[in-house]
C-alpha cells in the first residue's frame, strides 16, 4: 500500500463531540472554521516543502548549466586557435594514444534513507522505534549486533552480496580448472568445436509469437527472467537460493563447545582414580570409593552452587575425588566465592560433600598433573582462616577458576572455559602433560585458526568496495573475461598449429 507523502491535518472538520452549549449550530460552525484554519496552516507548510524541493533541484541544475557554459566558452576559444597544419598526424600517435573513456557515473543508493522526502520521514518518525536490543550486544559471543536478529535492514543486501561473491569465486575456480585442463592437453585439438550459431533457432522460437518464447538462459546470468505462458514474468533467482550459503554463522562454533564440555564430563571422574591411586596408595581405595560416589552425586551439587555459571558448579564435584583428600574442600570454595557470594559457598559445600565431612585444610600437597598450583596455595590457606575468600579470587574470576579446575581436574575443566571465552589469552592455562592435553591443545589451536581466518576474510570484504555497482561490475568482469580468455586461448591454439 503506498504511503501518502503529504497528509493535511486535521482530516475531518466537524467530527467532534459538541460541548453542551445553547446554540449548537453556531458552535458547530465555529469549530468547523477553526479546523479549516488548521488545514490551511498544514497546506501552507506542505506547499513550502514542495517549492523548497523544486527550488533545490533547480538550483543544482543552474550551477551545472553555468559550469557547462564556462566550458563551452573555453572550448570555443580553443577551437578558434586550432590550426590544421600544426596538427601531428602519425600512425604511432593514433595507436599509442589512450582511447577515450567517458566517465560514467552510476547513480547508487537511490532509495536510501537519505533520499526519503522529509514529509515521509516525519511519518516514519511517528512510529515506535524497535526495542533497544542493542544493549545486549556486549553479552554476545559471536560479535553480532543483537538488534540484527530482530530487524535487519541490510539483510537482503548482505544476502545478495554473499551470493555475488560466491559466484565470482566459483567462476574463478572454473576458470582455473579450464586453464589446467587446456594446459594438460595441449595436443588434444578441437574436440568440442563451437556450435555454429544461426538465427534459425531464434526464428523458430518466435514463430508462435513473442509471448511464448521461453528463454533458456543460464541461471547464473544476471538478472534472469522467465516469460511464462500467461505472460507474467517471474525470476529464476529462487533456484539459486538453495545454493546460496547462509550468512556467516559463527554460531556453528559455539554449539559444539557445550556438547564437548558435557561429553567430557562422565569419563574423567572414572579415569581420574588412576593417577590418584598411583600417587597415594593409602588414599587409593578411598579415591576409588569417592569416584564411585561422586558420579551419582554430581547432579545434586549443581543447585546449591547455582550462583556460579553453568559449567562451574557442574565441575565442582568431579574435582573433588581425584586430588588427595585435604584438597577437596578447598578448590570448590574459591571459584564459587569468586562469583560474589563469599559467605554462602562454605556452608553449601559441606552438605554437598556428605561422604567427605570434617576435612581440615592443611597445606595442600600438589596433585600430580597440576602444574601452576603456585597460585592456589595462598588462597586455600587464607580460606580456612578467613572463611570469606573474596579478595584473591574475584578480581580475575575466569582466570584463576580455570587454573584451579584444570589443576584439580587435570584437563577436564580446561576445554570448556577456554572454549566459552574464546578471546581469553591461552597463556593463563597451565602447560599439560596429560595424554588428552595434546588433543585439547590441537583443538584450541584449531579454533583459534578458524577465528583468525574469519576475521581476515571479513576484513578483506570490508576493505573492498561495498556498493552494488562495484560488486556487480567485478562479477560481470570475471564472467565475461572467462569467456574471452577461453576464446583467446582457442585462437592461440589455432595459430600454434
Amino acid at each position: 500500500m503506498p504511503l501518502v507523502t503529504r497528509n493535511i491535518e486535521p482530516r475531518h472538520l466537524c467530527r467532534q463531540t459538541l460541548p453542551s452549549v445553547r446554540s449548537e449550530l453556531e458552535c458547530m460552525t465555529n469549530i468547523t472554521l477553526a479546523n479549516v484554519i488548521r488545514q490551511l496552516g498544514s497546506l501552507s507548510k506542505y506547499a513550502e516543502d514542495i517549492f523548497g524541493e523544486l527550488f533545490t533541484q533547480a538550483n543544482t541544475f543552474a550551477s551545472r548549466v553555468s559550469s557547462l557554459a564556462e566550458r563551452v566558452d573555453r572550448l570555443q576559444v580553443k577551437v578558434t586557435q586550432l590550426d590544421p597544419k600544426e596538427e601531428e598526424v602519425s600512425l604511432q600517435g593514433i595507436n599509442t594514444r589512450k582511447a577515450f573513456r567517458s566517465s560514467t557515473v552510476q547513480d547508487q543508493k537511490l532509495f536510501d534513507r537519505n533520499s526519503l522526502p522529509i514529509p515521509v520521514l516525519e511519518t516514519y518518525n511517528t512510529c515506535d522505534t524497535p526495542p533497544p536490543l542493542n544493549n545486549l550486544t556486549p553479552y554476545r559471543d559471536d560479535g553480532k549486533e543483537a538488534l540484527k536478529f530482530y530487524t535487519d535492514p541490510s539483510y537482503f543486501f548482505d544476502l545478495w552480496k554473499e551470493k555475488m561473491l560466491q559466484d565470482t569465486k566459483d567462476i574463478m575456480k572454473e576458470k582455473r580448472k579450464h586453464r589446467k585442463e587446456k594446459k594438460d592437453n595441449p595436443n588434444r585439438g578441437n574436440v568440442n568445436p563451437r556450435k555454429i550459431k544461426t538465427r534459425k533457432e531464434e526464428w523458430e522460437k518466435m514463430k508462435m509469437g513473442q509471448e511464448f518464447v521461453e528463454s533458456k538462459e543460464k541461471p547464473s546470468r544476471y538478472p534472469p527472467t522467465l516469460v511464462y505462458q500467461n505472460g507474467s514474468i517471474g525470476s529464476v533467482e529462487n533456484v539459486d537460493a538453495g545454493n546460496y550459503p547462509p550468512p556467516p554463522q559463527s554460531d556453528s562454533i559455539s554449539p559444539p563447545s557445550p556438547s564437548f564440555s558435557e561429553d567430557n564430563l562422565p569419563p574423567p571422574p572414572a579415569e581420574f582414580s588412576y593417577p590418584a591411586d598411583g600417587n597415594q596408595r593409602g588414599a587409593g581405595v578411598a579415591g576409588l570409593k569417592r569416584s564411585s560416589v561422586v558420579s551419582p552425586s554430581h547432579p545434586p551439587p549443581a543447585p546449591p552452587l547455582g550462583s556460579a555459571p553453568g559449567p562451574k558448579p557442574g565441575f565442582a564435584p568431579p574435582p573433588a575425588p581425584p586430588p588427595p583428600p585435604p584438597m577437596i574442600n578447598t578448590p570448590p570454595p574459591p571459584p564459587p566465592g569468586g562469583f560474589g557470594s563469599p559467605a554462602t559457598p562454605p556452608p553449601p559445600s559441606p552438605p554437598s560433600f556428605p561422604p567427605h565431612p570434617d576435612f581440615a585444610a592443611p597445606p595442600p600437597p600438589p596433585p600430580p598433573p597440576a602444574v601452576d598450583y603456585s597460585t592456589l596455595p595462598p588462597p586455600p590457606l587464607s580460606q580456612p582462616t578467613g572463611g570469606a575468600p573474596p579478595p584473591p579470587p574475584p578480581p580475575p574470576p575466569p582466570g584463576p577458576p580455570p587454573p584451579p579446575f584444570s589443576g584439580a581436574d587435570g584437563q577436564l575443566a580446561a576445554p570448556p572455559p577456554p572454549l566459552s571465552d574464546t578471546t581469553k589469552p591461552k597463556s593463563s592455562l597451565p602447560p599439560v602433560s596429560d595424554a588428552r592435553s595434546d588433543l585439547l591443545s590441537a583443538i584450541r589451536q584449531g579454533f583459534q585458526l578458524r577465528r583468525v581466518e574469519e576475521q581476515r576474510e571479513q576484513e578483506k570484504r570490508d576493505v573492498v568496495g561495498n556498493d552494488v555497482a562495484t560488486i556487480l561490475s567485478r562479477r560481470i568482469a570475471v564472467e565475461y573475461s572467462d569467456s574471452e580468455d577461453d576464446s583467446s586461448e582457442f585462437d592461440e591454439d589455432e595459430w600454434s598449429d
Binding site: L13, T29, L40, Q57, L75, L82, E87, R97, F100
Partner: protein, 75 residues
C-alpha cells in the same frame, strides 16, 4: 406561528449560510491542493528532461575537450 418560528428559522438560515461559506472555503482548499500536486509533478518532469539534456551536453563537451586538447599522449 411566524413569531415562534422566526428565531429558529433565522438560526437555520444562518446555519445554511455558514455551511455554504465553509463549503466554498474547503473546496478552494482542495483545488489548491490539487494544483500544488500537479505543479509539483509537472515541475519534476521538466526538471528531469533538463537533467537529461544537461548530462548529454556534459558528455559531449567532455569528448570534444579530449579531442581538442593536444599533448595528452600517454606512454
Amino acid at each position: 406561528m411566524a413569531g415562534q418560528e422566526d428565531p429558529v428559522q433565522q438560526e437555520i438560515h444562518q446555519d445554511w449560510a455558514n455551511r455554504e461559506y465553509i463549503e466554498v472555503i474547503t473546496s478552494s482548499i482542495k483545488k489548491t491542493a490539487n494544483f500544488l500536486n500537479s505543479f509539483d509533478m509537472s515541475c519534476r518532469s521538466r526538471l528531469a528532461t533538463i537533467n537529461e539534456k544537461l548530462t548529454a551536453l556534459e558528455r559531449r563537451i567532455e569528448y570534444i575537450q579530449t579531442r581538442v586538447t593536444k599533448g595528452e599522449t600517454l606512454t
